[in-house]
Structure formats: structure tokens, C-alpha cells
């Protein structure tokens, strides 16, 4: 009996010491303020989510991210709150955070690192950098490699497919699409969807509906955000003259997943390519039937 008690006590001490080592290891890791939803997602992807002590509005994925204290939005940061939280690092989104607030924080002695992924390869690169920074190098390297492998697989799967004409609806009012230099354009390129407005001067040009009526659009991509309360996009049903509308070829992917540069956007790329390919096959069958 005494032997059993002694063994149990010894086991308890061992588990306690293991637990305390683990806890210390977690607390020893640097604390981070992540200033955009995509940075938060990236940090959770590499296993550093628990080290985030502050973020900006709309950082709602994964579910645990909703409980991170909010210290501002993409227009204004609450400098006082940042000072109170005393993070080891602030990871900011170069084009999506107020540069004057960041300059102020740098002046106050905070270390700021920047995230600016313009392609899937950039996501992998930044994941590795953040892994090194947060003490999760192994998982970050693994995830980054996984992302690149998956991207390679999707790209090669669709690269020889026939391109179909797609209209990408970024916003409904005013009707806005994407062009070269924008984040969603690479989704269209990889899935072999031809964007008739790719060569526009602006990355996010506003488009007159007349222009779309003159273009034989075969599929409409209408990403909707789960945060959109009305989930209302452009009412395409008013324009049955557009082939995509007549054929009911309107795809509605998750806008948050597509537009946030993280592992989730790769999953959404995969889904989008599958949907576009379904349209492609449907059109192929339809054309074959007409010819027959």
C-alpha cells in the first residue's frame, strides 16, 4: 500500500514538474500584438496564437481569436492600450495599419515587424519568419512547406485547363472588380479563369454594368463575408442577358477566407478552382450537346 502511495506521489511530482516546465516554456515565449486578422490567422496556423495579447477589429478566426483584446482598427490604434499591454513584438500590416500610429509606437520604443504578403509564396515566407520570432520554428517550417506543396499541386492540376471568362465582384455598390496587382487576381490565374478587366490601370477598378453586358462572362465570382449582416451582393438576376446569369453560374465563396492572406485562403483557392472547373465542365457538356 505504502509503495503504491509513494509511486503515486512520485508520479504527481513528475507531472507537476513537467507541467511547470511546459507553462514556463509558454510564458517565456514573446508576447505579440497582431494588427490584422490575417496576421492573427497566420500566428494560429504556426501554433503561436496563445502568445497574441492584442489585435484589431474583425480578427474573428479561429474561434479563440474572438477573445483577444481589441486595441483599435485599421484606421486608429489605441496607443495607451498598447503601452499597458507591453508586447515584446508588434506585427503590423504595412498597407493596412495607420502609419502615423506605428511611427509613434516605434518612437515609444516598441519593436515593430511588418507583414505584407502579395502572393501565396509570401505567406509561406512570413510564416517561417514568424515561426523563428515566436519560438515555433518547427511547426512554422512544416506548415509553410505544406502550403507550398499544396499550391504546387493545385497549380499543376489546373494549368492546362481551358480558360473561361470570369467576372470577380469585389463590392456591389459601387460595382468593383479586381485587376492585375490585386490579391484575388492570382486566384483567377491559378484556376484558369480569364479576367476581362485584368489590364485595368487600377488594382480595384469600378466597373459600369454596360461593360459587363458587352463581355461574354461565363461565370461570376461573388465572394460574401460572414460578417456581412445582409450578405447581399450585386443583384445579377436583373441581368439575365449575361451568359453566367442565364446559366446560373454564380459562385459565392467565403470572402473572409479568400481575402485574408493565410492557410485558409489556400483552402478557399482549392474550393474556388473546383467550382470554376465544374462550370467549365458544364459549359463543355452544353457546347458538345449543341454541336451534336
Amino acid at each position: 500500500m505504502t509503495k503504491i502511495i509513494k509511486t503515486l506521489l512520485a508520479l504527481s511530482f513528475i507531472s507537476l514538474s513537467v507541467f511547470s516546465t511546459f507553462t514556463n516554456a509558454t510564458t517565456d515565449k514573446p508576447t505579440i500584438i497582431a494588427l490584422s486578422p490575417h496576421i492573427v490567422e497566420m500566428l494560429y496556423d504556426i501554433g503561436a496564437g496563445e502568445q497574441i495579447i492584442g489585435t484589431t477589429s474583425f480578427a474573428d478566426y479561429p474561434e479563440q481569436a474572438k477573445s483577444i483584446p481589441v486595441i483599435g482598427n485599421y484606421l486608429r490604434l489605441q496607443i495607451e492600450k498598447v503601452i499597458t499591454l507591453q508586447p515584446d513584438y508588434i506585427i503590423a500590416w504595412k498597407s493596412g495599419n495607420p502609419s502615423d500610429d506605428l511611427a509613434r509606437l516605434e518612437q515609444l520604443g516598441f519593436t515593430i515587424l511588418y507583414s505584407q504578403p502579395n502572393s501565396f509564396a509570401d505567406i509561406a515566407k512570413e510564416m517561417r519568419e514568424f515561426g523563428q520570432l515566436t519560438g515555433h520554428k518547427t511547426q512554422a517550417d512544416k506548415k509553410a512547406q505544406q502550403l507550398l506543396n499544396e499550391l504546387e499541386k493545385i497549380t499543376s492540376q489546373y494549368q492546362n485547363k481551358t480558360a473561361i471568362t470570369a467576372f470577380y465582384e469585389l463590392w456591389a455598390r459601387p460595382l468593383t472588380t479586381v485587376a492585375q496587382g490585386s490579391w484575388p487576381q492570382q486566384f483567377l490565374n491559378i484556376c484558369q479563369a480569364k479576367n476581362p478587366f485584368e489590364q485595368a490601370d487600377l488594382p480595384y477598378p469600378q466597373i459600369n454594368i454596360e461593360k459587363i453586358l458587352l463581355t461574354p462572362v461565363q461565370v461570376i465570382i461573388q465572394p460574401l463575408s460572414v460578417n456581412q449582416t445582409d450578405r447581399e451582393g450585386f443583384n445579377w438576376q436583373d441581368w439575365p442577358i449575361i451568359p453566367a446569369v442565364a446559366n446560373q453560374q454564380i459562385i459565392q465563396p467565403n470572402a473572409d477566407a479568400m481575402h485574408r492572406m493565410s492557410m485558409r485562403s489556400l483552402k478557399e483557392l482549392k474550393k474556388l478552382c473546383v467550382s470554376i472547373d465544374e462550370t467549365r465542365q458544364w459549359l463543355h457538356k452544353k457546347n458538345a450537346l449543341i454541336e451534336h
Binding site: 481589441v70 482598427n73 489605441q78 504595412k94 502609419s99 515609444l108
Partner: protein, 328 residues
């Protein structure tokens, strides 16, 4: 005289209380005792020290001098043009500053901490120069405000055209910059605004009797030996410099210059000296309280300060209109 002294002492006390209150409110949870300790130079920790001395003190001081400056500019413009609707913002100053800020934000991208206020200041000066030139050509003071409105729309459309072709995030930042905020201010900004304010006050006090003469009409003022055109041009340039400096650091803060002098006329007096002192004290206190609301009303975000001043200002404006109608 006793009543006037009592009013001014009360306003001075109000300004002092407002400044102290401004140091107490903010997203960081710091008790009154800790704030007091920090002010007396013995902060409990480094975090409190940083929050009080590097964030709250500059904000309160800039709110004080910006409120004073805008209210004084409004009071002087109303008296020199004899138009109760005159407001520094009606002379295209914000539109000019907006154009400058837009060009700087979209062409420079980063490192805007010095370039943005400088570009906004130059834009504001550009706007007021056009208005003054038009006024000189027209030689009619009643058309000065109309010229200001036209210039304002002209520069506004130029800004919107540039914004349309800009990067979406940069565009958003400019739009929100125009709504005004004190969150980016530093002690250096306070020194600059305070210097321009001090020079303006000294010149106004030196010329207050001349400005008072303008209230009697241009002919009467001229018969009293006042060079009406020169004085009006000087005052306009002074108000423009003062407002442009404030807008450069704080963005667009509307209605303070319109609203505060009307309150002061009701409770203190209409002559320049009384009006300027009263406007300075009420304007300064008002902007401190507006900034307190801006940073404390929402738990995780700040409200742009111009939204609050415009909301309060428009209600006040309607109130004045109804009151004037009833009096008539």
C-alpha cells in the same frame, strides 16, 4: 466689471478642471491617485509614466490650444467680416489641407509623420491665398464667403479625383484623417500651435480697438482712422495661418470656430478683447471634453473628433436659427 471678472474667473477654473479631467480619462485603467502621483513626478511604474506624459499630456495640451485657436479664428473672422456665419473652415482651409494630405499620403506612402502636416499646411495656405486673391479682385467683402465656398468645392473635387485613383487603404486613411483626431499629437505639435496662437493673440490684443471699429461699419471705421482693407487682410491672413497650423496636426475639426464665439457673445460680450479671451477659454475647454468623449465613448476604438464637433455644432446652429426667429 465685477460680473465680467466673475465670468472670466469661472471660465479659467473650467479650463483648469477640463485639463485635469482630460488627464484622467483614457483606455488605460489609471486611477486618480496614480494620475496625481505622475503629475507630481513620482509615477508608480513606467507604463503609467509613459501613458500620462507621452500620450495624455500632449493630447490635453494640443486640445486646449487647438480649441483656443479655432474659437479665436472664428471670433475674429465674424467680427472683421461682420458675418455671424463666418468660420475659418468656410474659406476652403480644410479642403486645401485635405488636398495636401491626399497628395502626401498617396505619393509618399510611408514616413508621413513630417510630410503629412507640412503638405496639409501648404494646402491650407494655397486655399486661403486663392480666396484672398479673389477677394482682392472682387473688392467686396460680402462675396468673400462665397469665394471660399467655391474654392472649397474646387479643391474638394480635385482631392476626390486623386483619391479615386489611389490605393484603397491610403484613400480610407485620408478620408478619416479629414474627420480630425488628436491621437497622433506630440509635444512638438503643441509647441508649434502654441507659438502661432501666442503671436496671433498678441497682434489681436494690439489691434483690438481697430477691430472693434469695424463693427460700426467700414465707413465709420475709416472715419476713425482705421485702414479697413489692410486690417481685414491682416486678420484674414492671421486666422488662416492659425487654422492651417491646427488642421495640419489635428485634421478637420469643424464648427468650433462658428459655435464658440456665439456662446461668448451671449455670456461675456461682443467687443474683441472680451470675445477673444472668452472664446479662448471656452474653445479650449470644449475641445478637451470633445476629445475625452472621442477616446472614451467606445471601448475598443476612437471616434474621429470632427464627427463630435460637427454633430454638436449642427444642433447648436439650428438652435441659434430658431432662437433668432423667435426674437424677431
Amino acid at each position: 466689471m465685477n460680473k465680467l471678472l466673475f465670468m472670466l474667473s469661472s471660465l479659467l477654473l473650467l479650463t483648469f478642471i477640463s485639463a485635469i479631467a482630460g488627464l484622467h480619462f483614457g483606455p488605460a485603467d489609471i486611477s486618480s491617485n496614480q494620475v496625481l502621483q505622475c503629475i507630481l513626478g513620482s509615477c508608480e511604474n513606467q507604463i503609467n509614466q509613459m501613458v500620462i506624459w507621452q500620450v495624455r499630456v500632449p493630447r490635453v495640451l494640443v486640445a486646449l490650444v487647438a480649441g483656443m485657436g479655432l474659437a479665436i479664428a472664428g471670433a475674429i473672422l465674424q467680427n472683421t467680416t461682420r458675418n455671424p456665419l463666418a468660420d475659418p473652415y468656410l474659406f476652403g482651409i480644410v479642403s486645401g489641407a485635405g488636398l495636401g494630405a491626399t497628395i502626401a499620403t498617396l505619393s509618399l506612402g510611408d514616413n508621413l509623420s513630417i510630410a503629412l502636416p507640412l503638405a496639409a499646411f501648404l494646402g491650407a495656405l494655397f486655399a486661403i491665398t486663392i480666396v484672398l486673391l479673389i477677394a482682392k479682385v472682387l473688392q467686396r467683402i460680402e462675396q468673400l464667403l462665397l469665394a471660399g465656398v467655391a474654392v472649397s468645392f474646387m479643391l474638394g473635387s480635385a482631392t476626390q479625383f486623386i483619391l479615386y485613383f489611389g490605393e484603397p487603404f491610403a484613400t480610407n486613411r485620408v478620408i478619416f484623417w479629414l474627420m480630425g483626431s488628436l491621437s497622433r499629437v506630440e509635444m512638438n505639435n503643441f509647441y508649434v500651435i502654441a507659438s502661432v496662437l501666442l503671436i496671433s493673440i498678441i497682434i489681436i490684443i494690439a489691434l483690438h480697438r481697430h477691430i472693434d471699429a469695424l463693427l460700426l461699419g467700414d465707413e465709420s471705421a475709416a472715419s476713425l482712422g482705421v485702414n479697413v482693407d489692410k486690417l481685414r487682410l491682416l486678420m484674414l491672413a492671421l486666422c488662416a495661418a492659425l487654422t492651417a497650423t491646427i488642421v495640419a496636426y489635428c485634421g478637420g475639426i469643424g464648427f468650433v470656430g462658428l459655435m464658440v464665439p456665439h456662446i461668448v457673445r451671449q455670456i461675456i460680450g461682443v467687443t474683441t478683447l472680451k470675445l477673444v479671451i472668452g472664446s479662448a477659454l471656452i474653445g479650449g475647454s470644449f475641445l478637451i471634453w470633445v476629445d475625452i468623449i472621442a477616446r472614451s465613448a467606445l471601448p475598443n476604438a476612437e471616434i474621429p473628433i470632427g464627427i463630435i464637433t460637427s454633430a454638436l455644432g449642427s444642433i447648436f446652429f439650428l438652435f441659434i436659427m430658431i432662437r433668432t426667429r423667435n426674437t424677431n
